[in-house]
Point group: C2
Chain length 648, copies 2
C-alpha cells in the first residue's frame, strides 16, 4: 500500500500548494481524507476520466464541499483533461473550474455543486435511487455503478442529512456509501461543543451497515470498502481521522479547518510527510500509479460501450440519458374541459398520461399522496420494486428537494417533486441549488393560496410566489386552468437548463381556455379575453384568480368598460418576450392585477396609479370562499376598483 | 383510573363533535392521544388555567398541530376561560380561537402556533433551554417547570425534528418530554411506506431516556410520566396508539387521520365507548374531575405568587418576563468610528456591550462562532453551565430558527440567532413562524452578498433580501456602517411585536455616519448626504453599497451633478412613514438604486426611467473586489449611469 500512501500525499500537497497560492481555502478535508480518497480511487472507484460523462460511472459527491481541493486534486491526478495543473493553480479565482466550493461541471468530473452542508449527501440519495431505477429498466449490463459521498460532521448534523440517513436506510440503497470524515472538529472547534450522539448507532437504527476504521490506515480503509460493497445495505464507513493531517502546527486542531497557511506550514508538512518535491510538482511515478488505477475504469468503459452498441435498448437508453423527448410526446396531454377543476388535479391528469409516454419520469412526494393526487397509475419505488416511479419520501421535504437534483444530475431520469406550496420553504435551499446547477427538476406544489381554507395561515402561502420569482433561473408557473396546467408541463419538460415550479390550487379553478391550438403559457402572459387595442381597462391575473378576472369582465363589459383580461402564468417567460409583445399585452389602459398573494414584486407590471387586489398579510383559518371575501379578493372589489380607475 | 378514562373520552367526543360541526378536521390525534393527554393533565401537568400567563407554568406544545382539537378540548376541559364550548363549536371558522391549526394565544393556553411538522418540537427545545437559563438566574423557587410536546411520526421524520433530538440530547434538557403518538399511520397510510428505522434506538443514540408504553393503558402511561420526570435526561415516551381510536370505521386505518366523519361515525363511537351523552355535552362529574386535577396547579401558582412577592429579584424577574428594557439601556451602544469595519463585527460590538446591560439576551449560533463573532464575553450554555448565554447549536440552522421562537414564546429571554445569510433559507420556515406569531426574535445574518468572496455562489445571497422583504411582519435591516448597525439593534430590541433580521457584511464597510444624535434607521430611509430639495440625482443604497454611493457622490458633485444619497436600511420601516416624508427623501430627480443583490422588488422605489445597479444572476467564486467589478457594482458604473440620467 506504499503506492496508495504516495497517491494520498500527492492529494495532500496539491491541496496545500493550491490553498497557499489562493491565500485561503479549507485544508482540513483534503489533508484528513487523503488516504480514504486515494484508496477509493486506487482500488474501488469505477470511473473513466477520459470519458467523464460515461453513464455507468460511479458517482462521487463531496458533500463537505468546503474541502473542494480534495476533489480537484483527485480529478487532476486521475487524469480529467479539464482539471489541469494550471486549473489547480487558479483555485478560487474568477472563472476557474476550481471554485471555492465545487460547482457542477460534469465533463471535468464535478458531479454536483456542493458545499451547503447536507445538500451533497441528500443529492447522493437521489443518485442512488436513479441508479436502481435505471438498472431495473435497462439491466445490470448497462447500469451497474455506485454512489460514494464524502461526508463531514456538519452534513450529519443538518436535518436534511438525517433525513437522508433515514430514507436511504428505508429504501436499502445498497450501492450508496458515505465516507464520514470523523475528525471531531467543526468550525467552532471540538464537535463535543454541540454533539454527543453515537453517530454509528444512529445509522444502525436506520438499518445501515456501519464499519468503523482508522481513516489513515490504508489497509483498514481498503477492507472497509470491500465490506461495504458486499453488504446489501447502504454503508457508512466511519473514518476516524486527524483534520489537516500533515501540517504539524494545525493537524487535529480547530485551525486545521481553514486557518490561513503559512510558508512554514508548507515547509514543515514536507518534512513531516517526507515529501521533498516543490510546489505543484508530482513525481512521474506517482502520476503513473494514479493513471494505472484508472485503467480499471477505462477497460470497464470500453467493454460497456461494446455492450451498449449491440444492446436492443440502445436507442431508448441513449434517449433517456440525453434527456431527449420522444416525438409527439405531448400530443395526449389533457386539453380543455367544461368543468371547474383544481389545477393540482389537472396536473395529476397530465402526470398520469405521461406515466407511459415518458417512462423516464419519476415522481417524489412527501407524504401527501392523496391530496396531491400524482400517484395514480404509478407503482411505488421501494426495496422490492426498483422499477417503480413513485417514491414515498415521507415527511422529508428538504431531502426530497435535493434528491430531485441528485436524480437530475445523475442523468437518465426526469424527477418531479410533489408537495404543498406552504412546504416549499422546507426545501428552498435544495431548490436554490437546482437553480444554481441549472438542473431540469420540476417542483409541483399544491394548495397555493388562501384557497387552502381552514387549515389556516401556516398552510397558506402569501409571500411564497414572490420569494421564488426572486430566485434566479427558477421558472415559476401559476396556471389558471387545465389547459394552462398542461401547457406548463409541456414547457417545463422541454426546459433542459433549469428547474420549473408549479403553484397549483387545491380548490376548483374555472376553465378559462378553450382554444388549445397554441401553447400560450410559453409566452408567459397573453391576452385571454378582450382586445389588445381599444380597451378601457386591463385585468392581469394568475392561477385561480384568472377565473375571477373573467367573471369581472363579464360584469364590466355590459357597463361599457372595455376590459381586457391578461393571464400571466409565468413572469419569467414573459420577461423574456420582446418589449413590443409585452407592451401589446399590457396595453396603456389602467391596470388591475389580481393574485391571492402579496403585492411584493408586482410593481414590475404596475404603474403607481394602477391597482393590486390580493393579500396584505398572512391568511386565516376559514373556508376558502369566506377567506376570499374576508381579504377582499372578489369580483365586487374588482368592479369597484375598475369604476374608480376608469371614472365610470 | 376510571376517572382519567372518562376524562379521556371527554376529549374524544369533544373532538368528534367539533370536527363533525366544522365538517372537517383531523380526528386521528385527539382520539389516539386522549388517554396520554388526560393522564398528563390529571396527574402531572403544572398549569393554572385561571392564570394562563403564569410564568412558572409547564409549557405544552402540540407539535402534531393538525390534531388541534386535542389541545382545544384539553384547554376547555381544564378551564381556560377563553376556550368556551362555543369556541369549540366554532372550530375552523373565521376569528375562532379554535383555528384549523393552533395559533398562538397564550391567554387561552395556546403556547405557540404549530402544525408545520417539526416546528413544535424544535420550539420545545428552545422553551426547555429558556427554562434552564432562567432557573440558573432566578433559582428554582421561581423557575421550576417542564416542557411537554405531543409529537407525531411526521415531526420525527422532518430533519428539524432530528436536529431537535440531537441537540436536546446533547444539552441533556431533562425537563423536556416528547409524547410520541406512535400510531403507525401517516397521510400516505402505513408508516412502513417511508420509514423503517428504530425510532427509540435513534433517541437512545442521542442520549435520551426512552420508555415505551401502550398509549391507551392509563396506568402504564402514568408510570412512564413518573419515570420521565425522575430521569435526568430528556425523555421520549413512545406511546403505541391506535389512530382515531373509538370510531369503529376508522380506528387504526389510514382514514383515521382526517377522513370526513359521518353522523354514523359519531353514533357508533358513542356505542363503542359507552358514551351516551349528546353532542358537546360533558357530564358535570367529568368536568369536576378535570377541574379538581387543575387544583394542583392553582395551589402551586398561589404559593409561587407568594414567593415572588417577597423575592429579592422580584423586580428584575418581572422585567425579564414582561420584556421591558431597563432605562438608558441603549446609551452605550457603539457610536461612530473612523475606520472601515465589517458590519457583522459592529453587530458583535453591540451584542457584546449588551451582555451585561441586557442579561436576558441569549445568543444562538450554528457553528460559526469565529466568523460571526458574537460570542466574545458570553459563556457557553451547556450541561454544566446553565447560566451561559451562548448556545452552540451545531450545524442545525432550522432547529436554531425555531428554538428562538420557542425561547421568545416561553418569555423571559430575548433570543438572538446568528449565522450566514446564505443559510437563512435553511431556517426560513421557522422564521416565517416567528413572523406569523409576532415574536420578537432577532436574526443576525452575516456574509450578506458577493462580498463573501471566493466561497462562491452557494454562499452568496442574491435573492435573499427580496425573499425576506416579501415576508409579512419580518423587519429586514441592511445597515450601512457601525452606526446604523447599532441603531438597528436598538430598533429591533424595542420591537416587541415581531421579528427583525439583519443582513450584515463580512467585508469592511465604510463608515458613512458621524452624527448619532438621532436614530435615523428608525425611519427606514433618510438623506445621508446632499439636500432634499435642489438635486439632480438621488442615489439610494443599502448596506455596504451606501459607502459606494457616498464615494460616487464625491465624484459627481465636482462635475456639477447635485447628488443626494439616501441610505435605506429598512424598507419596512420606510413604508410606514408618512407619504410626505417618503417624497421628501426620495425626491423627484432621477434615481439610481445600488444594492449587491437582485433588483426584484426595487420597482417599489424606482420609476421605469430610473436605474438599478446590482446583481442580475447568482454570484461567482473570486475575491470580493474582483466580483464587485465583474458584476458591475462600482463607482464607475454609477458615474456612467448618473451622466446618462442627468444628461451631463
Amino acid at each position: 500500500m506504499t503506492a496508495i500512501q504516495n497517491m494520498a500525499d500527492a492529494i495532500r500537497f496539491l491541496a496545500i500548494d493550491a490553498i497557499r497560492t489562493a491565500g485561503e481555502g479549507h485544508q482540513g478535508v483534503p489533508l484528513g481524507m487523503a488516504e480514504i480518497a486515494a484508496t477509493l480511487y486506487a482500488n474501488h472507484l469505477k470511473a473513466a476520466p477520459k470519458d467523464p460523462l460515461w453513464p455507468d460511472r460511479d458517482r462521487v459527491v463531496l458533500s463537505n464541499g468546503h474541502g473542494s481541493m480534495l476533489l480537484y486534486a483527485l480529478l487532476h491526478l486521475s487524469g480529467y483533461d479539464k482539471m489541469t495543473l494550471d486549473a489547480l493553480k487558479s483555485f478560487r479565482t474568477l472563472h476557474s473550474v476550481c471554485a471555492g466550493h465545487p460547482e457542477i461541471e460534469q465533463n471535468a468530473g464535478i458531479e454536483i455543486t456542493s458545499g451547503l452542508l447536507g445538500q451533497g449527501i441528500a443529492c447522493a440519495v437521489g443518485m442512488a435511487v436513479a441508479e436502481e431505477r435505471l438498472a431495473a429498466r435497462f439491466g445490470r449490463d448497462l447500469v451497474d455503478h455506485r454512489t460514494w459521498a464524502f461526508v463531514g460532521d456538519g452534513c450529519l448534523q443538518e436535518g436534511m442529512g438525517q433525513e437522508a440517513i433515514s430514507l436511504a436506510g428505508h429504501l436499502q440503497l445498497g450501492r450508496l456509501t458515505f465516507l464520514w470524515d470523523d475528525n471531531q472538529i467543526t468550525d467552532d472547534g471540538d464537535t463535543a461543543l454541540s454533539i454527543s450522539e453515537d453517530v454509528p448507532a444512529r445509522f444502525c437504527a436506520a438499518n445501515w451497515h456501519v464499519v468503523s476504521v482508522d481513516g489513515h490506515d490504508i489497509d483498514a480503509v481498503d477492507a472497509a470498502f470491500i465490506e461495504a460493497k458486499s453488504d446489501p445495505r447502504p454503508s457508512l464507513i466511519a473514518c476516524r481521522t486527524t483534520i489537516a493531517r500533515g501540517i504539524p502546527r494545525l493537524q487535529g486542531k480547530r485551525g486545521g479547518h481553514s486557518a490561513p497557511l503559512t510558508p512554514q506550514d508548507a515547509d514543515e508538512a514536507r518534512i513531516a510527510r517526507s515529501w521533498p518535491h516543490p510546489a505543484f510538482h508530482i513525481p512521474k511515478d506517482i502520476y503513473d500509479d494514479w493513471h494505472k488505477a484508472m485503467d480499471r475504469g477505462a477497460q470497464a468503459q470500453t467493454e460497456w460501450s461494446k455492450t451498449l452498441a449491440t444492446h436492443p435498448d440502445q436507442d431508448e437508453f441513449n434517449r433517456w440519458m440525453t434527456g431527449a423527448l420522444p416525438a409527439n410526446w405531448a400530443d395526449n396531454l389533457p386539453g380543455s374541459r367544461n368543468d371547474a377543476r383544481a389545477t393540482i388535479l389537472s396536473s395529476g391528469d397530465a402526470c398520469d398520461i405521461l406515466t407511459e409516454v415518458l417512462p423516464e419520469l419519476i415522481v417524489l412526494c412527501a407524504d401527501l399522496e392523496a391530496p396531491t393526487n400524482h400517484k395514480r397509475s404509478r407503482d411505488s419505488f421501494n426495496l422490492t420494486n426498483r422499477a417503480g416511479t413513485y417514491v414515498h419520501c415521507g415527511v422529508r421535504e428538504h431531502l426530497m428537494g435535493a434528491m430531485v437534483s441528485g436524480i437530475a444530475a445523475h442523468g437518465g431520469l426526469r424527477p418531479i417533486n410533489v408537495t404543498y406550496l406552504a412546504f416549499a420553504d422546507y426545501e428552498r435551499p435544495a431548490m436554490r441549488m437546482a437553480a444554481l446547477m441549472s438542473l431540469p427538476a420540476i417542483y409541483v406544489f399544491s394548495h397555493d393560496s388562501i384557497g387552502v381554507g381552514s387549515n389556516g395561515p401556516t398552510h397558506q402561502p402569501v409571500e411564497t410566489l414572490a420569494s421564488y420569482r426572486a430566485m434566479p433561473n427558477m421558472r415559476v408557473f401559476r396556471p389558471a386552468d387545465a389547459v394552462e396546467t398542461a401547457e406548463a408541463w409541456e414547457v417545463a419538460l422541454e426546459t433542459s437548463d433549469g428547474p420549473s415550479m408549479f403553484a397549483l390550487s387545491r380548490q376548483d379553478a374555472d376553465q378559462v381556455r378553450s382554444d388549445t391550438s397554441e401553447n400560450l403559457t410559453r409566452l408567459g402572459a397573453y391576452i385571454l379575453a378582450g382586445k389588445d387595442g381599444d380597451r378601457d381597462l386591463t385585468l392581469i391575473a394568475t392561477g385561480t384568480e384568472v377565473g375571477l378576472a373573467v367573471k369581472a369582465r363579464d360584469i364590466l363589459e355590459p357597463l361599457g368598460i372595455r376590459t381586457t383580461v391578461v393571464s400571466m402564468p409565468c413572469w419569467d417567460l414573459f420577461e423574456d418576450q420582446p418589449p413590443a409583445y409585452q407592451a401589446q399585452v399590457l396595453g396603456d389602459a389602467p391596470r388591475i392585477a389580481i393574485e391571492a398573494a402579496l403585492k411584493f414584486g408586482w410593481e414590475r407590471w404596475l404603474r403607481p396609479t394602477d391597482r393590486f387586489i390580493g393579500m396584505t398579510s398572512f391568511g386565516a383559518s376559514a373556508k376558502a370562499p369566506v377567506l376570499y371575501d374576508h381579504f377582499g379578493i372578489n369580483d365586487n372589489k374588482i368592479i369597484v376598483a375598475a369604476k374608480e380607475l376608469t371614472g365610470r
